[in-house]
Symmetry: C2
Subunit: 309 residues, 2 copies
């Protein structure tokens, strides 16, 4: 195989109750990444389409992740990367993770898969650190493994794939503003009251239980964030109203996707999902706020190979 | 029915990763509580055997919980309570919870069960508040519902019964000192660093996943406490050594039971459980430290009716 094209999907993290540890892989929206072998050693980013991003391999997450991966192996050829961004940077649905993880996934395929999922997560995290200032695997893990994931540890890279209830759908709406992950992380308080920690842990625990038992009432009570959301939501226009509209339209839960500004809602049937999307987007239209919105099933397999040559 | 005798078991809480929210019902050790109807209205604690505790219904948790329950109903007779304590107060395996929950459970039976499990938990929590200074349901929930429980909310009293892996066993060893729950709560820091919260939540989430999947390796990595244990363990003689001995003997995990001084270990087979108990108790004997120790299966049904008249 000399060349491979993959679809590297978007992802939602935190899911309100699992700050920095929960992630969910989306079916819609993603980057298309083509990696081809070159005779000359080294990595080149040949093109970036869709959004304006640097081709410098030391400043583009795809280049950073690829270099981190290739540190661990001797190869007598090089790689050329072409990126078609389908996810807007700074939108809160894992734009950088899609580029990092998609690239290392593709390179691993060209190398005949010497690396494990955990190796790919580890390399991708170098890209995440570059854009956010700290290591985290909550976006890259669900893209590489698929489904809903819990990152137990980033030191020993321990990731658990949780069950994805078949009927569960996600509604994503993004008001068209950009929030940098690094800025959004700054509003997070450094310390938390023990009572708040207990409440947040209880919600996370209940959410995980609800995935195993498909108890959507419990899920609704659990996907709640009293620690991060109150501060971060102030950066997102109309957040409180959108939340009300979505809940009123039948959403199981509503929250900030990653560090925002995308807002996610959960639903367990398609007609409710469409109603939620319609009602939120009408609200944005009424206020003349530019937006992007879509409904997605949970992508249980992660990055997909589109073409190989 | 004029009289009922119940066995109200001990319980382990926190389980390292779920401070104030996780609880596990034990099969061994518990209080025997007899409640009989009396012609005269009101509640009397007729006797307390086993340990010296007050019979004042406003100072003994059994009386406090019973009064809280009976506030919600009109009865034209009274109740006489006899308590045989099988759990030492201040031992960290839910002595007060056993008395509170056992009493309200028994009274509910005599009344022909007008109250739900949640009502019983709510009344029992009044006893818990009296001894510890704050409401918590982590001990009373598993005794009343059985098995391993997660308290999602004490405001709306929302309790989830988690799965109990069949082979899971608990080894309890208690050095013979008393720690008051209220004192042990004082050493808990009021605020937690967000990174520590994230790590602790990840462990709780993984533990809950491990109960559903019976993944004992994951359980071993998850039943860890970097927040409360470092401070509380200083109150318990030989804690660090006991932990090492237990792990070395094959324990899945080791931690402080409730607010201590009891130490719990988890194991998934009986011969390992006995080896753990033997090795820990030999250590205490060598150091001339008085102790109590036993192995218990998980009690999935909770409080048990022994006799009715």
């Amino acid at each position: 195989m000399d060349s491979i094209k993959v679809f590297s999907p978007g992802s939602i993290t935190n899911l309100s109750c699992g700050y920095d540890i929960l992630g969910l892989c989306l079916q819609n929206r993603g980057d298309e990444i083509t990696v081809s072998k070159t005779n000359k050693k080294g990595i080149i980013i040949k093109s970036v389409e869709g959004y304006h991003l640097t081709k410098d391999i030391n400043k583009n997450v795809a280049g950073i992740a690829a270099q981190a991966l290739l540190k661990n192996i001797n190869v007598n050829y090089g790689f050329e990367i072409e990126i078609k961004k389908g996810i807007k940077p700074g939108s809160g649905i894992g734009s950088s993770a899609a580029s990092s993880a998609g690239t290392v996934f593709a390179i691993n395929q060209l190398l005949d898969s010497p690396f494990s999922h955990l190796d790919l997560i580890k390399s991708s995290m170098e890209g995440e650190r570059f854009v956010s200032g700290s290591y985290h695997a909550d976006n890259v893990a669900p893209i590489i493994i698929g489904g809903i994931t819990l990152v137990r540890s980033i030191e020993s890279i321990d990731v658990i794939k949780l069950p994805s209830p078949k009927s569960l759908e996600v509604i994503i709406v993004r008001p068209n503003i950009e929030i940098k992950t690094s800025d959004s992380r700054k509003v997070v308080k450094k310390k938390v009251k023990i009572e708040k920690m207990v409440q947040q842990s209880a919600n996370l625990g209940s959410f995980i239980s609800s995935l195993y038992t498909e108890d959507f009432d419990l899920m609704s009570k659990s996907v709640v964030d009293e620690i991060i959301e109150p501060d971060r939501s102030m950066l997102i226009p109309e957040f409180d109203n959108i939340k009300k509209i979505s809940k009123y339209s039948g959403a199981i839960a509503v929250g900030i996707s990653g560090s925002g500004p995308s807002i996610f809602s959960l639903s367990n049937n398609s007609s409710t999902s469409n109603k939620i999307l319609d009602n939120i987007t009408s609200h944005f239209e009424k206020l003349n706020i530019d937006y992007d919105g879509f409904v997605s099933k949970i992508n249980t397999t992660g990055i997909k190979i589109l073409e190989t040559k």
